[in-house]
Every structure is written in structure tokens, then in C-alpha cells.
Amino acid sequence: MHEPETAQPPIALELADVHKSFGATPVIRGVSLAIPRGERHAIIGPNGAGKSTLFNLMSGRLAPTRGRIRLQGEEIAGKRPFRIARRGLSRSFQVTNIFARMTVRENVRCSVLWSLGYRYSFLRSIDKLRDANERTDETLERIGLASRRDALAGVLTYAEQRALEIGVTIAGGAKVILLDEPTAGMSRPETEAAVELIRSVSHDRTLVMVEHDMSVVFGLADRVSVLVYGEIVASDTPERIRAHDAVRSAYLGASDA
């Protein structure tokens, strides 16, 4: 369900001439990107292109050296991650980053608390928070971990942990979802299940995804940006990107033309 092209949809996430360098070495060299609300946007590029750094800049883990980042029109460059998360941007991690010694259910429930307004309350028993528990169980159903809800997150299989990673990211109801290589290390059937999950989860939200598996990218993305050596060399629909020579040379070395 996407608005017709003509009415210009509001911009969910916008990067304006963002630079980032570690000491003397520049990693992000002037990236500008505007992602309209509801769009599924994929970022691809060879290893070391700066994809994860870009994610870290957007989610507040790193502060840009120069340039501005706006989330639904509000400046978030350099803000602490929890301030950005509260404004409705939630991200997952390439290396699974969950609460190992807590149960699956508690992992997800922790991520719903802020959005339901429970802030730092210590006077209410969590078992009595009906809305939080409902939202948690609903998310567990969607990521297919309802049956494993009382297992410790640390003992889950790799695929289950990746699913939980997505669950924790989406449970808070954030409008903008950043997924960092969600299907990395998954088998074919597991990847397909993950794609269906991402499709249903990002139904009415803005999705930004870093992914290497081209079948996932072309199966899901409305638009694809190609990041090479810290710069966006192309940003277009999947079909045009596939035919784009700059992309081919970046991936396959010098083009034969």
C-alpha cells in the first residue's frame, strides 16, 4: 500500500552531506539520502564500504564529523541512541546483541516498555501491565518464538536468535526500522521465512536494510542505494540498479565495456 508517486510523501529519514572520519581516515564522504515514509530502502555495497558505519550514524551509536540527519523532520545527528530510539527509530545489529541471561519473553517485553509510557517506573508489577504483555505476546507470535518464550535467550539456535533480534527491534512500535544484515548466516528456507517476516513487519513502516543477499534485496526493496568507499554511487529502483554499470564495476571489478 504506497501512496501514488504524484503526492510527494513526507520524508521519514534524511541525511544531508553526512561525513564521518576516524582520526585521519574518512569513512563516510558526504552521503545525502532522503527516505520517504513507508518506503523499503536497501543499502548494498562491497565490504568495507561503510554500510555499518552509516547505520551507526543514523542510530546515534556514532556522531557524524559533519552534516545533518533528520528523523521525521527533527534533527538527531549526534544525539544519544536512547533519545533517537524514543523518537521512533529502532535498529537491529549485525552481530546478535540481545539479553542473554533473560528469557525470550523478557527480551521483547523490555523493548516495549518505553513506547507504552512506563519510563523508569518501579512501583508497578510488570505482570500486571496488560498492554505490555499483550504487545509482547503478539510480537512473539509474529517472529514465531511463542513456544520458546520462557527459554533463556542465550540458549536459542542462531536462527532463533536472529528472529529475536528482529523481534526486539520491532516490538517497540518504532516508525523507522533499521535492519543490519537480518538474514546473515541463514540457510535458504530460513532466509525465505525471514523475508516474509520482514515484509509483514514493515507493512506500514519505513524500512532501511543493509543486505548482501541480492535475492532478499530485490525481493523486498522499493529502492536500492549502492554505497562504495563512503559515497552513494547510485540510488534507484532495483531494476535500474541491476543494469547500472557503476554498480557492476564496483562488484565485478572493471567493467568489460
Partner: protein
Amino acid sequence: MRASSRIWLAAAVMLALLPWVPGLQSDSARSLLTQMGIASVFALSYNLLLGQTGLLSFGHALYFGLGGYASIHFLRAINAGLPIPTPFVPLAGAAAGLAFGVVFGALTTRRGGTVFALISLGLGEWVYASTLMLPSFSGGESGITASRTKAPHWLGLDFGSQLQVYYVTAFWLLASAVLLHAFMRTPVGRLANAVRDNAERVEFIGYNPQRVRFIVFSVSAAFAGLAGGLHAINYEIVAAEALSATRSGAVLLMVYIGGVHHFVGAILGAIAITWLQVSLSDYTTAWLLYLGLLFMGIVAFVPGGLAGLAMMHLAALRTHALPAIARSYLVALPFALVASIGAVTLIEIAYRRATQPEAGTLMKLFWIPMDTAKPWPWIGAALLAAAGAFALYRAWPRVASAWAEAGEEMHARA
């Protein structure tokens, strides 16, 4: 009635009947029980930091001591006429603990891990030395005294006898346990566990880990202050050693030996270490060596602590591997016993020679008289220890395999 309230009721009944158990009816036995109660409240408050939030503090006695001082000054005010009965004095300790927890917490909880540990160590040493310099607040080395009986009676009791002080301590222990257990079931309690497991990820679900640490730290300081208040009532004196580094070290030993990952672990540890400190030190001057060895053994071999050990065995009861485990224990335990008797004898003889020459060389150990001047006790003990240890080393794989078998079964069923 939900499961948890049944547990609390059972705990209440047990606490009520404990001082009437034969053998525990003497004043000093009840004093020991009271000390265990005070240590348990302090250990529970500390486990909120170490076990639930992963904050390793080397200066938690600060809030115990400052709470104690506030309570003893409050008790002196009561002696001077303030119409408040003695049992409510620990609330003054909790209030002081909370106040100092908020003030110092804002400084120290900016970071977790090693930085937090070292700040707590530095702050502990700094405030301890400073209290000695403020005699009107701390009474210096000799401390501040007050009377728990010169106060308005409550329910017709004057709280002079040790039994009544025990019941005041038991009440506050139960209250603290219920409150702290409930605290862990609140949003901030859940987030405390999240900060322990992965403080970085907590920031990405909208919470500031520093704020979570700060709240938990303040609550923990309040309960440590409450324990300080109970200390003030029980001894009617609070001296600078109430906030010394040795007390901070003791609570760390209690919680870790008891079992950091289990709520009841802190209480188990408090009971074990208090007994070791108060009773074992009457039997042998080497009690601190045994405590140190026990602690290193727990850290290296049994990270789950006593509670972890108990839980493991409870779970194993339901598996088919139980007979295998029992058999392996039958073989291993005697060797362990032999090894420890040899080691203990060696230690006791050495201690007698090094620290108490005046008590002469005649000694009775495990009902066997021996003369430390002659060589045979030394050789005998050393041989015993070595033989026991070697046999235990050989028998250990059998124990390990039995447990492996139980582990697989438990895993399969989980």
C-alpha cells in the same frame, strides 16, 4: 493464594519459630541469628547491584555505615524524648542510605564495569577516613552509643532483650526481601537485568543505562542503610569500622559465595559467612585462610555459588542420572574428606607454631593429640593431604561424567 505469597508465609513462620529451636535459645545464639538477619538484609541490598545489575562495588559498606550513624543519632534523639518506638529506627537508616545513595550515586553510576568498581573503592576509603575526622558525627574510633530501651514502649515491649531485637530484625528482613523481590518484577527491575546483560543494547530500546544504574543504586543504598539501622539497634553503638573496607569485602564474599544469580543466594551467603566469622573464629585463628580458600574455590569452580549448587542438585534429582551421581559422590567424597583433614591439620599445626608458641606444642586435633615439635604430625598431615588430593583427582572424571549425563537429560527435557 499465588505461589510466591505461600513462600513468603512459610518464610515468616520459619523466622518466627527459629529462636525457639533447641540449641538456639541462648542469648548468644539469638545474637548470632540477629547478626545473620542484619547481614542478609545488607547482602540482599548488595546483590541488587552485583547480581541483578552487574555493578561490582568495593565500597558498599559506606551506605551501611552512614545509615547506621543516622539511626544511632536518631535513637539518641529518641532517648532525649522524641516519641518514636525503637522498631522504626531502621527507617531513619534507610532514609540516610537513600540520601547518600542519591548524592554519591549521581557521581559513581556514570559508568559500569571496572571504572565503577574503582570509583566505589576510592569513595569508600575517602569517606571512611573523613568520618574519623568528624568526631561530633562519627565519634571517631570509639563511635556513638545510644540506648534502645529509653524509648516509648510499643505493643508493651521495651526491646531490651535479644529476642525482641531478633524479631525486629526478622520483620525488617522479611519486609526487605518482599520489597526487593517485588522491585525486580517492576520495569526498572527488568531493565536492571537488561543493563547487566547488555548495557549498550538498552540504549537502543529507549532507556538510558546510566539512569537505570542510578535508580537501582539508590534503592540498594537505602536497603543497606536499613541494615545499618538494624546494626545500630542490635549493638547500640556505631563506630567508624561500620563503613570500613573489611565490611565491604565481607558483603562481597557473602553474595558471591552464596550465589550471585539467585535471589536466595545472598541470604545463604550471609548465613554461611556470618557463622564462619563469629563461630569458626572461636575454633581456629586460621578462619580467614579457610574463608579465602573457599571464596577462590567458588570463583574458580562453582560460579553459581551455594545457591547454584543447590539448584543444580535439585534439578538432578528428577533425572535418571541420579544414581550415577550418587555413586560417584560415594567414591569421591571420602577422598575429599581425607584430603581436607590432611590440609586442615597441616594449616593448624603451622598456625600453632607461627602464632602461638606460648600455647606449647601439645595440641588436640580431631580428637588426636599431637606434638607440633616432632616431625611425624607434619609428615603425616602432608601425606594425608597429598594422597587424598591425588585420589580425588583420579575419581573426579567419574563425577564429571555423571553430571554430564544429568546435564544432557536436563537439556533434552528443557
